[in-house]
């Protein structure tokens, strides 16, 4: 069995009295893309820095391909790193920036030239090798930064919010570029730090959601999106409405539904604003646990004749559609994304809301 590309075992990082990362356990397989997703200050960049060797863990171990590198300096780890602001060397031309790591490895001149040409072509920057970084656009600079990191052929590529300094259009373009690189480099593991769930969903095989220096949840991208186990994951990944609901009766996981609470289709029955709904528990829900229903805004239907009565609080136009702010009769608020507002009553008037079966049911406060 081959060792994983990256393994963090109980890694904690302290900056003075501030705990930036708390006992993180994480494994990244060879060739796998893992996104570290979380808001600012969640510890995701610190985790990446611990892998790169830029910060020394207060406790825990960092392993690369099974080798303990906790005490090894960054230049002995052989990782490719791409950071938010590119960090290109401004006094060097594009070709020299890309060749930097190869020269540091004392690679023969001819090979350096060959490798530089190859990676610049890979990122579509072959025509810019004589330029200085200041003569390039943000997107071009980021391409050079990626080429520089890839030139040393690292087994692991660490990307720290690589697209956040770019404008929306360039971000889309670079995201497509990164996806293409992923296909071209199937053996290179990627750890991708981002606060943008769209990037995480598009690029990663698995997502690790972080908050307050802790790992909240880690799992395959689709599973985390559709069946989050933590309330925070549901709200951060997909911006779900978290509606406090009453579990009609708790049932142990694996119940056959004979007690009526968890049906044969695996769905539980919950009560929201007086109406009964069927929801999918994403983990064990012991009796008495307060639970929340995660409903993504695009899954909420708003019709005059729908079952749940609500009041329309506001309408925002979002270009491709409208976001409605609604309040249910029990005071819960939720957001709904609809393509049209034709036929809807005015703000302040009553509407009907429909929530489909199968929305994830998570313990309230889990991961909060």
């Amino acid at each position: 069995m081959t060792a994983p590309a990256v393994e963090l075992r109980g890694v904690s990082v302290h900056f003075g009295r501030t705990v930036a990362l708390r006992e993180l356990d994480l494994v990244v397989g060879r060739g796998e893309a893992l996104a570290l997703l979380g808001p600012s200050g969640s510890g995701k960049s610190t985790a990446l820095k611990a892998v790169a060797g830029f910060v020394r863990p207060h406790s825990g171990r960092v392993l690369l391909s099974g080798v303990d590198v906790t005490d090894a300096p960054p230049h002995r780890r052989g990782l490719g790193v791409v950071v938010q602001n590119y960090a290109l060397f401004p006094h060097m031309r594009v070709a020299d920036n890309v060749a930097f790591g190869l020269r540091a490895r004392r690679m023969p001149r001819r090979e350096v030239e060959q490798r530089v040409t190859e990676v610049l072509a890979m990122v579509g920057m072959a025509d810019y090798r004589r330029r200085y970084p200041r003569e390039l656009s943000g997107g071009q600079q980021q391409r050079v930064a990626i080429a520089r990191a890839l030139a040393i052929r690292p087994p692991v590529l660490l990307l720290d919010e690589p697209l956040s300094a770019l404008d929306a259009a360039l971000r889309e373009e670079m995201l497509a570029e990164l996806l293409r690189l992923r296909r071209e480099l199937p053996d290179t593991a990627m750890v991708y730090v981002t606060h943008d769930q769209g990037e995480a969903l598009a690029l990663a095989d698995r997502v690790a959601v972080m908050r307050d220096a802790r790992l909240v949840e880690v799992g395959p991208t689709a599973q985390l999106y559709h069946r989050p186990r933590a309330e925070f994951t549901a709200s951060f990944l997909g911006a779900a409405n978290l509606l406090p609901v009453e579990l009609v009766a708790a049932a142990p996981e694996g119940s056959d539904g004979s007690d009526g609470t968890v049906r044969a289709d695996g769905l539980a029955t919950v009560r929201l604003a007086g109406a009964e709904l069927r929801a999918e528990p994403t983990g064990p829900l012991p009796a008495g646990t307060p639970v929340a229903l995660g409903v993504r805004p695009h899954r909420v239907e708003v019709r005059a004749d729908a079952g749940l009565p609500a009041r329309l609080l506001g309408v925002q136009w979002r270009g491709t559609g409208f976001r409605l702010e609604l309040e249910l009769d029990d005071g819960s608020r939720l957001r709904a994304d609809v393509s049209t507002v034709d036929g809807l009553p005015a703000v302040g008037e009553r509407v009907g809301v429909s929530i489909p079966d199968g929305c994830p049911l998570v313990p309230a406060g889990a991961g909060a």
Binding site: K49, P74, L79, F89, P90, G101, R105, V116, A149
Partner: protein, 303 residues
Amino acid sequence: MTAVAAPVAATAPRERERRRWAPLLWLAPPMLVVLGFFCYPLALVVRQSLVSESGEVGLAVWRHVVTSPEFTAALGRTVLLSVGATAGCVLLGTFLALVLAFTPFPGARVVSRVVDAVLAFPSFLIALSFTFLYGSAGVLNAALGGGAGGPVDFLYGPWGVLLAEVTFYTPFVMRPVLAAFAQVPSAQLDVAASLGARPWRVLRQVVLPEAWPALASGTCLTLLMTMNEFGIVLFVGAKDVITLPMLVHTKGIVTFDYPAACVVAVVNVVLSVALYTVHRWVFRVLGTNRAGEGRAGAGLDPA
């Protein structure tokens, strides 16, 4: 309407005239100060250097002074001392800046402030403190038990002047270099290290090129100031150390040979202006290269 338009039309040329002259009016006061307090005295010095004691106008004084062994020795000594002191300042200043910028230790800020404080002192104070420390009757000789004329005897020669100048002028290099180091994003250092570069390579290929303009500027400034240093040389009291400023002092104040003093002073000014020109040129060339518009760097492509 016509009644209103006429005065406007009449005042327009006057307004244009006033606007044309306004910049000159602002320029006049500083120009007068420069002319009165710098150019005119300098012109007098140049004129005096061309008039011999017998009142003849010509280059006789210049010929006599610049061919004298005394002048040649002073010129050589000045260049040697200023280049030596500047080299010392560059080494020490860069080292201190590196330590303060990249190896933070408790009290680093205090050390930085103390070094800064040296900038506020008059240069002769350093020479004076050196006399108390390393002079023949200084603290060090007393501690070594030699008393007056003890074993430590370097102060009253070129080495004493050199050490005092290095001590005094090091902050002039350290301060701009430290500021330049602070501008290097830590991400650049991290990425360089991740690419396999050891600290020495990161320093040589990433940090120092970034700080090069600041280093060049500090070096030129220090060279300029050490070349014109007078207080330290005078207060150290080194008998054999006659530099150009000391020679001006000797000729003008001690032997009352004003024309000769003026010749040496003019040479000193010309050297300073030349250095300043080099400083500007170096700065411009570096700036151009950093902007990527100048001559080709050490790129992979020879073309």
